[in-house]
């Protein structure tokens, strides 16, 4: 299953650069907004563009965060479990995340519904009229591109998270993933130092 890890790392490397580019673009757009507005020449599409940059940043960054196991979670129970049980629970959790990410691919698929769309010869009006799925009719407010281009980050997110979740699960089953343990330093060492401290005072 090493191939999953390799593929996931390759995708993560691309995501890393995408995060950098989007963060730079975000700062640039807001600064552009400040400058143009103070010169009373505000550019009307900058705000919406910046929001979309942020959203892409969040979904791509959240995908990368999944690979790096950086999402916030409640660890109170898992650190209290014995090592073996914690390992088993972690494997179950990785499996749940993987299953849900795969489910997101399906949800993105039925939303974009490309097969039905192709069935109507990519006639957007006929598609919307027949399915009452208006994904291809929604406009952006100021950018001039249809919203489905911007929404493409969602199927992308479903795909990359599924890959990362699969790699995380494979790493876990192969014993390569870390187990969450209580962060406290060893008590004996601390008592010794604490005593020395007390003597100094």
């Amino acid at each position: 299953m090493k191939v999953l890890t390799t593929a996931s790392e390759a995708v993560a490397a691309v995501e890393r650069w995408a995060v950098i580019a989007l963060a730079v673009a975000l700062v640039g757009l807001i600064l552009l907004n400040v400058v143009t507005r103070s010169l009373a020449m505000a550019i009307y599409w900058v705000d919406e563009m910046a929001v979309y940059c942020m959203i892409w940043l969040v979904f791509i960054g959240a995908s990368l965060a999944l690979r790096r196991r950086r999402h916030v979670r409640v660890t109170a129970v898992i650190v209290a479990l014995p090592r073996g049980a914690a390992q088993a629970v972690e494997a179950v959790l990785d499996a749940i995340v993987f299953a849900f990410c795969a489910f997101m691919i399906w949800m993105a698929w039925i939303w974009y519904d490309p097969v039905t769309l192709a069935g109507y010869g990519f006639d957007l009006d006929a598609f919307a009229g027949a399915t009452f799925n208006f994904i291809y009719d929604e406009p952006t407010t100021t950018i001039g591109a249809p919203k489905y281009w911007v929404w493409l980050v969602m199927p992308l997110f479903a795909l990359t998270t599924t890959l990362h979740a699969a790699a995380n699960l494979a790493d876990r089953l192969a014993g390569r993933a870390p187990i969450e343990r209580a962060p406290a330093p060893p008590p004996e060492k601390e008592t010794a130092k604490g005593a020395a401290k007390g003597a100094m005072k």
Partner: protein
């Protein structure tokens, strides 16, 4: 059933964003409303379509750039010149430096991590008890949700759909009261413990060295308070200022260091902001199950006094905050409690927001999952229990401030009333 799934997944440690999404998906399945699956991804996306949220990555970026560019260190040195000569001087320095940091870093845990690295060893070297030093540093982190820029305020503003800039202004008096309470605690403890006094360090250099860095809090707070820029724009200006000062004034920010700064910021900001997207699909559950209405009936049966209601909310949030990270807890409880607070009890949304945000940050410092407590303990190499014990006076005074703020809404709202 849905509630059981939610609690189980939450407690066994599934990432909270996934807890919210999986629960929503299971709920949709159980209620047979499967047409919602085709709009699930759209709903996730829609949760983030808010201009206010732009401030989150930008504020985080400012903080990271300040650390990498040597601005943080100089601000601390500057604070130590200002109050270093007093008895227990370094304890005050710690708090003042924390207040400066709070005006830069939006995240309490990040702030505690940075300040623990800087202040705790220094306090210990001067003869303070190690656990006390770690406790004081982490208590200083409690100021971060109140002094702008605060992640919690940005998120509360987005969730409650109120003006984020006004929320920051509403937090000023409570922030000063809390800082004042902490100063009082230090003074009282110093009276009993004979805190060390130190000679003032070299004044002029440290003061001059810190001045450029001081422009960051000025840009952020000034921009927001004077209404001269939106919180988002202030944040972008602060990023620019932090970059220019770190790169060209101090010359410590190297270009090869930048990609790492951006990636760290991006991943951290994404993990936080993604919770908001997940909360938006979870909103289906709350909406169709009429959870706010149920809670409202239940709390309406308990009391009809806004002050008592606020006390109940505080008690509940303290318990929630002990097991769930502050931002995640905020995202889960605001959609439920906010409509009750404003519609049933007539509580001002800004008042409610400030109290809730201060309360939830306490959870960072309480076992069993107080991230701030563990960060401060491990950086100081002290036992969390010892640090927690030293924290008790600070936590107690924060609780007293919370009760005061719950009782006197004017302390929060007076600055934003036109």
């Amino acid at each position: 059933m849905t509630g059981g799934v939610f609690l189980t997944l939450l407690l066994i440690g599934l990432p909270i964003s996934f807890v919210l999404m999986v629960t929503a998906a299971v709920y949709v399945w159980l209620t047979g409303n499967t047409a919602l699956y085709s709009s699930f991804m759209q709903q996730l996306f829609a949760g983030l379509q808010s201009y206010g949220l732009l401030a989150i990555p930008l504020f985080m970026l400012t903080g990271e750039l300040m650390n990498a560019g040597g601005l943080t260190r100089r601000l601390v040195a500057m604070a130590s010149v200002l109050v270093g000569g007093l008895r227990g001087g370094l304890a005050y320095v710690n708090l003042i430096a924390n207040m400066m940091m709070a005006s830069i870093m939006g995240s309490a845990v990040a702030q505690i991590a940075v300040m623990s690295r800087v202040m705790t060893p220094e306090m210990e070297r001067q003869g303070y008890d190690r656990a006390f030093a770690a406790a004081l540093t982490s208590a200083g982190g409690l100021l971060s949700p109140i002094i702008p820029p605060s992640m919690l305020f940005v998120i509360f503003g987005v969730l409650a759909q109120i003006a984020i800039g006004d929320l920051f202004i509403a937090g000023i008096i409570p922030g000063l009261i809390l800082a004042g309470a902490f100063f009082l605690v230090i003074a009282v403890l110093g009276f009993f413990h004979e805190f060390p006094r130190v000679a003032r360090p070299a004044r002029a250099e440290a003061l001059a060295g810190g001045l450029p860095a001081l422009s960051i809090p000025v840009v952020i707070i000034g921009g927001i308070l004077l209404g001269w820029a939106t919180p988002t724009e202030s944040a972008a200006l602060a990023v620019l200022a932090a970059f220019v000062i770190g790169r060209f004034v101090y010359g410590e920010l190297t270009l090869p260091a930048l990609p790492k700064v951006f990636v760290e910021t991006g991943v951290n900001a994404a993990a936080v902001t993604f919770l908001i997207a997940a909360a938006n699909v979870f909103g289906w559950v709350l909406l169709y199950e009429q959870v706010p209405q149920t809670v409202a009936r239940w709390s309406g049966g308990l009391t009809d006094d806004p002050f008592v209601f606020m006390l109940l909310v505080n008690l509940m949030l303290l318990l929630v905050g002990m097991v769930i990270d502050g931002i995640a807890a905020l995202i889960m409880v605001v959609p439920i409690l906010m409509p009750i607070a404003t519609d049933v009890f007539g509580i001002d949304p800004y008042h409610f927001g400030v109290v809730v945000c201060i309360n939830l940050i306490l959870g960072l410092l309480t076992p069993p999952v107080g991230a701030g407590l563990y960060v401060a303990s491990s950086m100081a190499d002290a036992r969390p229990t010892a640090v927690f014990k030293a924290l008790v006076p600070f936590l107690g005074s924060t609780l007293a401030v919370l009760v005061l703020l719950s009782w006197q809404p004017d302390l929060v709202t007076v600055l934003i009333r036109d």
